[in-house]
């Protein structure tokens, strides 16, 4: 592979910076909300989304289709949310129970999210059902796009969504 010249490299960096700014202003908030629905701890959602932006920026030169940057960003958020959940599960298994933190004023919004019945019901779903439901009905992705993000077949997405909807209906009915 030929070595990339300095000029080409700096052009890619400028392009990545511009794209990062545009993606931030257009999609940052919706991605944070998406992460808040996927994660057990909504306090981590901004961290996950910021990490996803940094990774997409680093990989900008390798992106084959830059029009799909948002899809790539969304997939990175989903992957990082999965990793975070996995890490949290391991940490919860081994760590002693911490003292409860005093909630700050900024965390008020997250507390509201935590209290929402649908979020509580969502968290009781298996991970894949939760992802399918959130991607289909919050992110408004088609079944094919959701399958691409979840790295599974369209049929699986249909099954996960159907089971997730049914389970959510039952749980929400119970909560009311």
């Amino acid at each position: 592979m030929p070595a990339r010249s300095d000029a080409a490299r700096s052009e890619v960096a400028r392009d990545a910076d511009a794209a990062l700014t545009a993606l931030y202003s257009e999609h940052y908030r919706s991605l944070v909300r998406l992460a808040a629905l996927l994660l057990d701890d909504v306090g981590l959602c901004e961290e996950v989304v910021q990490d996803a932006y940094i990774r997409v920026h680093a990989a900008w030169g390798r992106l084959q289709d830059r029009d799909k940057a948002l899809a790539y960003l969304r997939q990175t958020v989903v992957n990082l949310a999965r990793s975070t959940l996995r890490r949290r599960l391991v940490a919860l298994k081994h760590a002693p129970k911490p003292m409860p933190d005093a909630a700050s004023a900024e965390e008020g919004a997250y507390t509201l999210v935590e209290r929402a019945a649908v979020v509580q019901a969502l968290r009781e779903l298996p991970r894949r059902q939760r992802e399918a439901v959130v991607l289909r009905y919050y992110a408004d992705l088609s079944e094919a796009d959701a399958a691409a993000v979840m790295k599974c077949s369209v049929g699986s997405v249909k099954a996960y969504t159907s089971r997730g909807l049914a389970a959510l209906g039952t749980k929400l009915e119970g909560l009311r």
């Binding site: 990062l20 944070v32 808040a36 629905l37 901004e46 932006y53 920026h57 929402a116 649908v118 209906g169």
Partner: protein, 322 residues
């Protein structure tokens, strides 16, 4: 079980996350992360490159051929007799500035490649038994075939002058005590080698049989009837003399059978003949090459008819033996 309507779920989800606001410092945090990652990339690549270079270096050291100071001479086969032995060199007389035996130093440029033999052809210790000797591809005609270590200093002349064992151009001397021959080498000091037997009076020569620039020690070991048998020792890389097994060298006429040998262009031609009529002998001449592991027959034996009345006898000892 009541399934949730998609539109209802969409509304619930949107309402649930509506209170979430993006942090004002979000963009700055992302920019800082980008800069941090960019800074980390160069050291990471440097460390990776250094680690890779280290691995390549280790692999090279692991597979590198051994240094020339290490003896590469292959293990010799058993000596002629279990009582034969080699004694260590006394390095006291080593001249300054010359590499010591086995101690690493100069490489003999002209003869070293031919000394790195990879296979040992079978030897025939008895040239007169009618077995056809096999030629050796690794011993081309005229090529010195000794397997000395490269630690020996290069010889000053090829072949070596008569009497010069260590190839420094200075004549070396030999004395005998019982069956042990002690040779005083001008380069390495004195070294000795024990033959199965040594006849008295002490009959020997130092002659460069293989033409590699280092003389071999040829000693008459015993006599059977009128046939004299000779043993051969050569200098090893460590400055010691070691017996070459399977010496075919014998000379003399015993009743109707005659043996003789002569040195010719880095090889030994051994003649063995049987009398047919009066002084006429049917002679088989076999050419032998000297290697550290023994004598190797080269080519096919030549059969000739020799009339001793008109032709010099081939049944004499050559190679400097008086």
């Amino acid at each position: 079980m009541t399934a949730l309507e998609p539109d209802e779920l969409r509304r619930l989800l949107t309402e649930a996350v509506d209170p979430v606001r993006a942090s004002p410092a979000g963009y700055e945090r992302i920019r800082a992360g980008v800069v941090r990652r960019r800074r980390m990339r160069v050291p990471a690549m440097t460390v990776g490159g250094l680690a890779l270079a280290g691995l390549i270096g280790l692999a090279y050291v692991a597979i590198e051929p051994r240094a020339p100071s290490i003896l590469v001479e292959p293990t010799l086969p058993p000596l002629i007799q279990p009582t034969s032995g080699v004694t260590a060199v006394h390095p006291a007389t080593q001249p300054p500035g010359r590499p010591g035996p086995g101690g690493g130093g100069q490489v003999r440029p002209s003869v070293t490649p031919s000394r790195l033999e990879t296979s040992v052809p079978p030897t025939n210790p008895n040239p007169g038994d009618g077995v056809t000797p096999t030629a050796s591809a690794s011993h081309p005609s005229g090529t010195p075939s000794n397997v000395h270590s490269p630690t020996l200093p290069p010889p000053v002349s090829v072949p070596a002058m008569a009497g010069d064992v260590d190839g420094d151009g200075v004549r070396d001397s030999a004395t005998v005590s019982d069956s042990t021959v002690q040779v005083t080498l001008s380069l390495f000091g004195s070294t000795s080698v024990t033959f199965p037997a040594v006849v008295s009076p002490f009959t020997y020569s130092i002659f460069d049989i293989d033409g590699d620039g280092y003389g071999e020690l040829i000693v008459q070991t015993d006599t059977s009837g009128d046939t004299r048998n000779y043993g051969v020792a050569r200098l090893t890389s460590t400055g010691q003399l070691r017996i070459i097994t399977g010496s075919p060298l014998r000379a003399g006429v015993n009743d109707t059978h005659g043996d003789g040998f002569r040195c010719d262009s880095g090889k030994v031609v051994v003649a063995a003949g049987d009398r047919t009529t009066d002084r006429i002998y049917q002679v088989t001449s076999t050419t032998w090459q000297v290697a550290s592991t023994g004598f190797t027959a080269v080519g096919s034996p030549a059969k000739t008819t020799v009339d001793l009345a008109s032709t010099p006898s081939p049944f004499t000892a050559g190679c400097g033996i008086a």
